[in-house]
Every structure is written in C-alpha cells, then in structure tokens.
C-alpha cells in the first residue's frame, strides 16, 4: 500500500472511486468495520462538497503512524470560491447547495481530527484524520 496518494475529485464517478480507495486503505490499516464505514462516509461527504461547492479538486490520502496507533488522513483541496463564513458552514442543516447541510458537520463528527482552511476567491482545504 502506498503511504501517500492523490486522487482527482471532479465527477460523480470520482466520488465512487474515492470511497473504494479510502475503504481499501482503512482495511489495510486494520480499521474495524465501523471505523471503515465512518471514514468512508466522511470521505464521501467531503468529496461531494469538493465538487458541488469547490468546482472539483483533489484528495490526498496519507497513512500515519504515531507510536502504536495508525491513522488515515484525508485532505480535500479545491480552488473554488471559498467559504466566507466557516462557522455558519459548519452548522448542521446550513446549506447553499440544496443538500441536507450535513456534509461538513457530519464529516467532522465522523473524524477524530478535523481542520478546515478557506480563503474567499482562492479555495478550501479540509483535512480529516481517523485513528484506530
């Protein structure tokens, strides 16, 4: 298994591929079924955000080791319009895309670490890490 890989996130089909690759990494890292399901679901939400709000971008997968534990970090990046109000965007039910408004907040809840940076006009980077 590679320890660092970047995939395109541009089409609906890419979301399916991201889910499959994230799943195989999670399995490889020894995540149990619930942990796998959580990280794949979070990846699916963020991949959709990257396309719907960021106009497409990439996801970088990194496997991490920290002492005895292993983790999976996913960094979604786009060069879209950015998010003017991050606090608002992280609120449950807030949406600008006609969805349920659970993408960001849900992905955050499904992860152990969550980091988001966004600059209006430049793009957005969301990183999540799930440890086992």
């Amino acid at each position: 298994m590679p320890v660092d890989e970047t995939l395109p996130v541009r089409s609906s089909h890419d979301i399916v591929v991201v889910r499959q690759v994230v799943r195989s990494w999670a399995v490889e890292l020894g995540f149990n079924l619930i942990e796998q399901t959580k990280v794949v679901t979070a990846a699916s939400e963020l991949a959709r955000n990257t396309i719907d709000h960021g106009g497409g971008g990439t996801v970088r997968l990194q496997s991490l080791r920290d002492g005895g534990r292993s983790g999976l970090r996913l960094t979604f990046e786009d060069k879209g319009p950015g998010i003017p109000d991050l606090n608002l965007a992280l609120k449950d039910g807030y949406t600008t895309g006609g969805g349920l408004g659970l993408g960001l907040s849900g992905a955050k809840r499904l992860s152990n670490e969550f980091n988001i940076e966004s600059r209006p006009g430049e793009g957005t980077r969301v990183a999540i890490t799930r440890w086992r």
């Binding site: 609906s12 679901t41 939400e45 349920l100 849900g106």
Partner: protein, 130 residues
C-alpha cells in the same frame, strides 16, 4: 443506460440497491419508481439496502425523496436491511431518515406494508394511513 431493476410483487414494488450509487443513477431510480408506482398501482415500495456499505447524506436524501414521492402517490416506503455499521454511522452523521419506515429484512418489511394496507382498507379510506 445503467438502471436499478424494480420488481413487482403483488401490490408492492421491490428495489434492491446493489451498486455504488452515483448521482445520475439515483435520479433515474426516482423517476423509474414514481412511473412504476402509478403504472402498477403499487401500494408500497420496499427498498433493500443490505448491499450498501455506506449511506451518506446524498443517498439519505434520495431515500427520503423516494419516501415522500411515494407518499404523495399513495404508496408506503419501507427501507429494509440496513447494516449495523451503516446505522451507527448514519446517526453520527446527523441523519435519522425522518419520515422513512425501516425493517430489518424484506420479510418484515413486507409484513409492515401488509399491516398498514389492511389498516387503511379496513375503514375504507386510502388516505387514512399515516
């Protein structure tokens, strides 16, 4: 074009989602199902998701839409076969599928639909069901 098959079982329709859903497939399914509910005069829809390894908010929204459209067309929707790991993740995601009835498997889902159909036929009002 790729399609999810819809099977007719007496007055019910059975949909088994076995592939990784993408946007267009989800839209096609909604269109096909509403057509079939009307054409087959279906009173209930069973959506089997036992093959789905994840349900994200996109698929959750699709399921909610199907349930709402079916209700408007006087058919009940029951989602069956959700995996435990999917249920745990779905709730943590913040999605509890409001307005969608669930059963553990197709048999139990069928029972639920029959029971609710009996209830509605008993008093002679199709719209007496919730």
């Amino acid at each position: 074009m790729e399609r999810i098959p819809i099977l007719k079982m007496n007055e019910f329709l059975l949909v088994s989602i076995q592939v990784d859903m993408h946007d267009r497939l989800a839209m096609t399914l909604q269109d096909d199902l509403t057509d079939r509910i009307v054409r087959d005069r279906a009173r209930g829809v069973l959506i089997d998701i036992s093959s789905l390894e994840i349900v994200d908010s996109f698929i959750g929204r699709m399921i909610g839409n199907i349930a709402a459209m079916s209700r408007v067309l006087d058919a009940e929707t029951v989602v069956v076969g959700m995996r435990p790991a999917v249920a745990i993740t779905l709730v943590e995601l913040g999605l509890s599928l409001p307005g969608v009835r669930t059963s553990l498997n197709v048999d139990k889902g069928m029972e639920l639909l029959r029971a609710s159909l009996r209830g509605s036929n008993g008093d002679g009002h199709r719209d007496a069901r919730r």
